[in-house]
């Protein structure tokens, strides 16, 4: 009788740790988009002046962080039970403490002023730049494995979680004009891959931080790629 209740309890507990439980855990934590600008500084600005004519950021993030169950099973064999669940997490802007659109804009301007070979101006510039941040694709998988063995006088329980790596890809379109003539018109990408959180004592709330870290580093890569290309175009 006791064993039956224990099996029921395990099934119940496993259910609690499902997509909804994970979503609550990730949704309870927040972090800031931030990164270190460590590209080579262009001390001299021989390329003239540049004006950012427009900087459009589409709604690349949904409001809330969600967790979706991709696949999973629970095998109750009375004395030996095991389960495996795969989830996919989606970062929402509710988890980001700073205004993400403002961060995207300001971090690009900072990179442009740092490593760009031209001086940024607010009014008329030799060059005119239009940027549109169009999409973010993020793969943030999570895997939960576990088993329970009921012996006559003992119970063995094992569960492990692995989260990551988080692969982020931000795409943007950049158009550079000089005197109305297009010098550059193409799509750019910024990529990042974070490390994996794994083990028995993994802190799942850290996964929110990992997703925010992934997005920060992808934006860093994007900013550097655009500025490098503009430097070469001149």
């Amino acid at each position: 009788m006791k064993t039956t209740w224990m099996v029921v309890a395990v099934i119940f507990l496993t259910g609690c740790g499902g997509a909804a439980g994970l979503q609550r855990t990730l949704g309870d934590h927040t972090g800031e988009l931030l990164y270190l600008h460590d590209s080579e500084t262009a001390a001299e600005k021989p390329g003239g002046t540049v004006k950012i004519v427009s900087f459009v950021i589409d709604d690349i993030l949904p409001p809330d962080t969600t967790v979706q169950e991709k696949s999973g099973y629970f095998v109750p064999l009375l004395f030996f039970n095991f389960w495996k669940y795969q989830y996919e997490c989606h970062l929402g802007y509710a988890q980001i403490e700073n205004d993400y659109k403002q961060f995207v804009r300001e971090s690009f301007i900072e990179e442009l002023e740092r490593s760009g070979r031209f001086r940024r101006v607010e009014d008329r510039g030799d060059l005119e730049l239009e940027i549109e941040i169009s999409s973010l694709s993020m793969s943030a998988p999570m895997l939960k494995l576990g088993s329970v063995i009921f012996l006559i006088y003992a119970v063995g329980f094992n569960e492990s979680t692995s989260a990551g790596p988080v692969d982020s890809l931000v795409t943007a379109k950049a158009v550079l004009r000089k005197g109305g003539k297009e010098l550059l018109n193409r799509e750019f990408q910024g990529k990042s891959r974070t490390s994996v959180l794994s083990g028995k004592n993994v802190k799942l709330e850290d996964y929110t931080t990992t997703m925010i870290e992934g997005l920060s580093l992808a934006l860093k890569d994007l900013d550097e790629n655009i500025v490098k290309e503009i430097n070469h175009t001149q």
Binding site: G31, E32, L34, Y35, L36, H37, D38, E40, T41, N98, D206, T209, I212, E213
Partner: protein
């Protein structure tokens, strides 16, 4: 009786080999290797590292204690501040950093200010302010190893380590 001695010896040995929280390296290094997740690094220029060779080799807490017995304050400003940093006496390190002022080179002063602000026991400084402090430090000394060290520190700040 033997067993009574056994456990304190094991505990003592374990504490001796504990890694020091702060490790001082020279910018001659190409990359950090074998770092502990919670360990912080401070990078010295080649010249400053040559002036203070003793402080560079201190990888474990027991080494720091041994080194502390042989030294005294007032010999070299950089060595003084770094010694109190690696023995985790942040208040003393901060006092010395303020007292020495310009005798500590700017590249080091900026990074130490940021490190000490992040270790402060008062109100926690928010991550974006610390990143701005580290940004100033990297702008003054932007070698590859310093960049790796500061990026690692930012990662630790993200995860609250």
């Amino acid at each position: 009786m033997k067993i009574v001695w056994f456990f304190p010896v094991v505990i003592l040995l374990a504490s001796c080999s504990q890694p020091a929280k702060y490790v001082i390296v020279s910018d001659e290094m190409k990359a950090l290797d074998g770092q502990h997740a919670d360990q912080r690094y401070v990078c010295l220029t080649m010249d400053d590292a040559r002036t203070n060779p003793g402080i560079l080799a201190l990888q474990t807490k027991s080494n720091v204690v041994k080194y502390g017995k042989k030294r005294r304050d007032g010999q070299d400003p950089i060595e003084d501040v770094l010694f109190h940093l690696i023995r985790e006496d942040y208040q003393k390190a901060e006092e010395l950093l303020d007292d020495y002022g310009d005798r500590i080179p700017e590249y080091l002063r900026l990074v130490l200010k940021a490190d000490l602000a992040s270790e402060g026991k008062g109100d926690p400084v928010d991550a974006s302010r610390l990143v701005k402090m580290y940004q100033k430090a990297i702008d003054v000394k932007s070698c590859a190893i310093n960049s790796e060290i500061i990026n690692l520190r930012i990662r630790q700040l993200r995860y609250g380590r």
